[in-house]
Symmetry: C2
Subunit: 353 residues, 2 copies
């Protein structure tokens, strides 16, 4: 029927599998292996059931206030959404409306081109170098006029963290379009670009509760930017859905922020496990970029990525694998608990022997 002719037809992003079997060692979607802060548990008992009949606060004030206090950023420079995917999606819709291309690395979060396709934003992928690092000069506007830039730092799925000084130079060369720094993995050893929002009004720094704050199941993301930038995003968001964050997400989000010691301890534990696993993987013949994220992007000297991915899956250990040319030999392995990683290493040892 002809109604189909005007449908927006897209090929969606495919997230990592979410198996229902609890026995699976799940190292495939970069979740935190530890539970959220204990305050979250406590607050769950106190959620006011009677208030659920009422709409949530459309301004998400309690959560914005908590983020404002924690990061020392004024409230009108903070945007919150249903996970950082929602925040990034709204940023695309708001800022990338040029006929010039949006720029991002050829190897990065694979949602970046999906959003561009959804909103019909022209885009250009810039190859990472052979070490999977970003060639920053390729993004300088004098070389190729552009309609925006999005950089994940640390970059996914490679895990490399780039210095903020390089990001700042990129921004200085891109004052005519919005530059997004996606910091989903920043809390595991990277350097945040947050201070740059004070100097450059076209910079958006995006973070999430899904990784370091162990709240993927609650869908909470946030962004920092100039007052002007955030106001434009709010206008688009309030033209999309007045109430995106439900009551529990607002309240539990606050509880997660309040326990800073737990947050820092959790990140430190994951970093310690990551560094230990790096050594073990090296010993087994793997190579990998130096990850500052909660995952390792590793390639074995002999065995293909696909073979290892399937062997691990067979054993009930899920990691992530892509078939794209440059990365087909790699596995992205989320850092789990020490016990989970021991099982992974033990299996690999046996399999590779």
């Amino acid at each position: 029927m002809s109604w189909e002719k005007i449908v927006r037809k897209v090929t969606p992003y495919v997230p990592g599998e979410q198996p229902k079997d609890k026995n699976i060692i799940k190292l495939n979607t970069n979740e935190c292996p530890y539970p959220p802060a204990p305050g979250v548990r406590k607050l769950l008992d106190n959620i006011k059931y009677e208030d659920m009949r009422l709409y949530p606060d459309p301004e998400a004030s309690v959560l914005v206030d908590a983020l404002s206090d924690y990061y020392n950023v004024p409230k009108d420079q903070i945007f919150v959404g249903v996970g950082s995917d929602d925040v990034l999606s709204m940023a695309y819709l708001t800022f990338f409306n040029s006929d010039k291309p949006l720029l991002f690395p050829d190897i990065t979060y694979s949602f970046y081109d999906v959003w561009a396709e959804l909103y019909k934003v022209p885009y250009k992928k810039i190859p990472l170098n052979d070490d999977f690092k970003i060639n920053f000069e390729d993004y300088y506007e004098e070389n190729q006029p552009n309609g925006g830039v999005i950089i994940a730092n640390p970059n996914a799925p490679v895990g490399i963290s780039e210095p903020v000084s390089e990001l700042e130079k990129l921004i200085q060369h891109n004052r005519n379009s919005v530059v997004i720094i996606d910091e989903a993995y920043i809390d595991f050893g990277g350097e945040s670009a947050l201070p740059l929002i004070e100097k450059y009004e076209n910079v958006l720094v995006v973070q999430t509760f899904s990784k370091s704050r162990a709240m993927a199941g609650m869908r909470i993301g946030y962004a920092f930017g100039s007052k002007k930038l955030i106001k434009y995003m709010q206008d688009a968001k309030f033209s999309f859905n007045s109430y995106t964050m439900n009551r529990p997400s607002l309240e539990l989000g606050v509880a997660a922020i309040e326990d800073d010691k737990y947050f820092k301890d959790t990140c430190a534990k994951i970093v310690a496990t990551r560094e230990r696993v790096k050594k073990e993987l090296s010993g087994l013949g793997f190579t990998f970029p130096d990850s500052k994220a909660n995952f390792i992007f590793a390639k074995h000297e002999r065995v293909s990525g696909e073979e290892l991915f399937l062997a691990l899956k067979e054993k009930g250990i899920y990691v992530r694998h892509w078939s794209a040319d440059r990365i087909a030999d790699y596995l992205r392995i989320t850092i789990g608990t020490d016990e989970e990683m021991d099982k992974l290493i033990a299996f690999l040892k046996e399999y590779l022997a």
Copy 2:
């Protein structure tokens, strides 16, 4: 700076006020005056805190299954989202990509033109007749080729419910674009168009948990349509954000559906209060269309809508008022508890005397 030139600039929808003062009688956003089903309270105690570190099921299976059972609609004909606003917003993005105008009434849910502006969808408002009823023939495609139709039934803010036979005729005359029936208020006495999805593959029927199921604070909306229609929406949704519904919303949504007796009793109580309040308002000199929703759209014979709105607000009773020409003399009054409505009536009696 020139980055602003390519920003999508929009004027957002303004939702009704969400006052923090608990003493206010809140009859301004059509929430349910009763709490959600008791099963929701019980389930809150059992939400697995440890699982919050994990992403929710992107397919929202438990909720889709529950809706499928309750409405007897196959799972692949159901779409769920963050309130019906999210569902409608995704439907606009997916289906309304024509250079012909989207059609909807001049007086209806005021988000319809906001979404059109956001996505740059051309649109045309068709006047309701003098009794605030829809002139269905104005929407027949032979009269004006169109890029889609959206009708709220019962229509907001007037409350009138149109017969499904009229909606079906409209659909028969509009096979070349998607027709959305927004049934946010259907459970208070209207006739659902749900059976039409079996006969017409271009029809989307949208409902919500925010009104009759007393879950506005949880943000749950859903839609029914042909398998083909729903697949297109899913593709767009999975290109926007893989995980829109968080863990509590999925679980608590199921609990709300399971208690059908509570649901029906709640709707019946609201309908009984509405019918009583109609009589009281008539006695005080108000006129109103015959509402089949959980609100009454009423105009007083002497006193202006704005004056009454402000007087009620001063007294701590919030209702909704718009300044648009045709409806400036009307108040939209949500049906609260009997006690709340008694306070409203008592105040109006005194004020109008």
